[in-house]
């Protein structure tokens, strides 16, 4: 379970998140929605430990462990996964090499045995088929020259292989056509599990038609200003974020 209390984050000296509190019990999917500039990506980057996102107060605890004391790779090994809004291109490193290095680094950090090459390839093939990823794509430099949809599917592939305890999906629906959206949503739904918390960050309600959240939160002005059931997403879609802009 993820527990965030009074989290304050600054970027370049400017406060972005102000006393944000949020709890996501294991087994639940929570959506955070909000207007542009509300701090949605800042929340995801702060949880993943991106340099430049300075935490000035509050706490973020995953399964009893203080995430904020850890560097990004240590957080990943403890089960944090962030699916990037704009996945980074990694020239010269084939997808298979990158993913295997990451998986084995996580295993080493947890003092677990590394995954053998045949077992790794078997798992990759299985997941790639589910996400309709051409296996040849995995032999190319990761994300270099990939379409928006290919990049997002590659993110979901990694999420599936790493089996995180906390999955953060940052604007995963952006740049996807309807077919790609459905494939990605199926991939996310397949990951729902009793021992996993999921945080879906999105501007639009569209993705939430496919990935049904247990709770929906509205992020505005750097804090959670409203929470409710899935119906809240539909209300936001109909009414917009205007009334929350003043509340913040």
């Amino acid at each position: 379970m993820l527990s965030i209390k009074d989290l304050r984050v600054e970027v370049a000296g400017k406060p972005i998140l102000e006393a944000l509190s949020l709890e996501i019990p294991a087994g639940e999917v929570h959506a955070v929605m909000g207007p542009n500039g509300a701090g949605k990506s800042t929340l995801s980057y702060a949880l993943a430990g991106r340099p430049g996102y300075e935490v000035t107060g509050g706490s973020a605890v995953l399964d009893g462990e203080d995430l904020l004391a850890l560097n990004p790779s240590e957080r990943a090994a403890r089960g944090v996964f962030l699916s990037f809004q704009y996945p980074t291109e990694v020239p010269g490193v084939p997808g298979l090499t990158f993913i295997r290095s990451a998986l084995n680094a996580q295993h080493r950090a947890r003092s677990e045995p590394e995954v053998s090459a045949p077992e790794f390839l078997r798992r990759v093939r299985e997941q790639a088929a589910m996400l309709k990823i051409d296996y040849e794509l995995l032999k190319r430099s990761l994300n270099v020259g990939f379409s928006g949809g290919e990049k997002k599917r590659m993110e979901i592939l990694q999420m599936a292989l790493f089996s995180p305890r906390l999955a953060i999906l940052d604007e995963t629906d952006s740049g996807l056509d309807i077919d790609a959206l459905r494939i990605v949503a199926d991939g996310v739904n397949a990951m729902r599990s009793a021992d996993r918390s999921m945080l879906v960050i999105t501007h639009y309600q569209r993705l939430l038609d496919y990935v049904r959240p247990d709770r929906v939160h509205v992020l505005a002005g750097g804090r959670i200003v409203a929470s409710g059931g899935p119906e809240l997403a539909h209300a936001l879609e109909a009414e917009g974020y205007d009334k929350y802009a003043t509340a913040a």
């Binding site: 560097n71 990004p72 790779s73 957080r75 990694v90 020239p91 010269g92 680094a105």
Partner: protein
């Protein structure tokens, strides 16, 4: 004026200096206040070289002494190791070797500069004559001592239908220059002129290339990659000259360097001088730090920073290494590079 002339005559005024435009980043006159005495001959057997086991024949030049002229017969195919060994502490020497590659012959030359001593001052001149349809793959590996001053200058005179496929890989020296001058007469003559420099400490390496396209339909393709750390300095000077009438010349030049520390430096001067009309010439030059975005991305997936840095740096360099044609030489250079980068990242 050259280091070789200075060594032969003992006249320091013969040394190239920063006042010479082509040597302004590799000043020898300001560096060498005195020349060491001439290197003595040695009878000691040389240990195995970096390309041991890969060549059919081996040619040694030790302390400037060895073959002066080699001939590859027309149509002959040969893989030859050329080992240029500096085994005299604080000695100076210069040598010159001519290699004549006959029509339709193929020479794979695995050329190593092996610094087995310290404080030496050396120039090695190589003159290649590449006859019609001849092919030269030249893989150069420079492992000079950190205290050495070392200059290698190669001149390659090509013929129509011939090809030069060259990769220079170096770890630098106190001051080091690896220079290649190529005359490409066109007529399908094709040049690949790659380079890799991996420098740390206070090492310096200068990769200078000059290609003159003098006839119709010549090709030059160049990719040079560098990684500098510590207080090291990398220099790349690439000049491609397309003479009047050398139409349908196709020339591409790329130089890309990573600077890993605040005190490291890269100086680059890519030059295209084009005097013909119907040509395709491009160049790209970038010098920068490691991509922080990619570092965070790898970190967020669980790859610790140190490992991520090594992975990204190696990926950067491998693009040039992968273009080496001779598989065995490629793997040796890949392994040496990986070993070097382990210490750097």
């Amino acid at each position: 004026m050259s280091l070789a002339r200075a060594i032969e005559t003992g006249d320091l005024a013969e040394l190239p200096s920063r006042r010479d435009e082509d040597w302004r980043w590799t000043d020898l006159r300001g560096l060498l206040r005195v020349l060491p005495p001439p290197s003595k001959a040695t009878e000691d057997a040389a240990p195995a070289g970096p390309f041991a086991g890969l060549a059919q024949t081996e040619v040694l030049i030790v302390n400037g002494r060895g073959e002066r002229r080699l001939v590859i017969a027309p149509g002959e195919r040969r893989i030859m190791a050329l080992r240029i060994i500096a085994a005299a502490n604080a000695g100076a020497h210069a040598s010159r070797l001519e290699i004549d590659i006959g029509a339709d012959a193929q020479l794979t030359l695995l050329e190593s500069y092996e610094g087995q001593s310290s404080d030496y001052v050396v120039e090695t001149d190589l003159v290649f004559e590449l006859r019609k349809g001849g092919a030269l793959e030249r893989v150069v590996l420079a492992q000079d001592a950190a205290s050495a001053v070392s200059v290698s200058r190669a001149q390659v005179s090509m013929s129509p239908g011939s090809s030069l496929w060259q990769t220079v890989a170096t770890f630098g020296a106190k001051r080091q220059r690896l220079e290649t001058q190529v005359r490409n007469p066109g007529g399908g003559a094709s040049v690949r002129l790659d380079g890799i420099y991996l420098l740390n400490g206070q090492r310096h390496a200068d990769i200078t290339t000059i290609v003159a396209h003098t006839g119709v339909g010549g090709v030059t393709d160049q990719l040079v990659k560098g990684v500098v750390d510590g207080q090291a300095r990398g220099v790349f000077q690439g000049r491609i000259v397309v003479s009047p009438g050398a139409d349908r010349t196709d020339a591409r030049m790329g130089h890309h360097a990573l600077v890993l520390s605040d005190r490291a430096e890269v100086d680059a001067k890519p030059e295209l001088e084009i005097y013909a009309d119907d040509v395709a010439c491009t160049h790209g030059n970038t010098v920068g730090a490691l991509d922080e975005e990619a570092l965070f991305y790898a970190g967020s997936r669980g790859i610790p920073e140190r490992e991520a840095r090594a992975m990204l740096i190696e990926a950067f360099v491998v693009e040039a290494i992968d273009r080496i044609g001779h598989e065995g030489a490629r793997e040796r250079i890949r392994a040496l590079s990986a070993e070097h980068l382990k210490g750097s990242s």
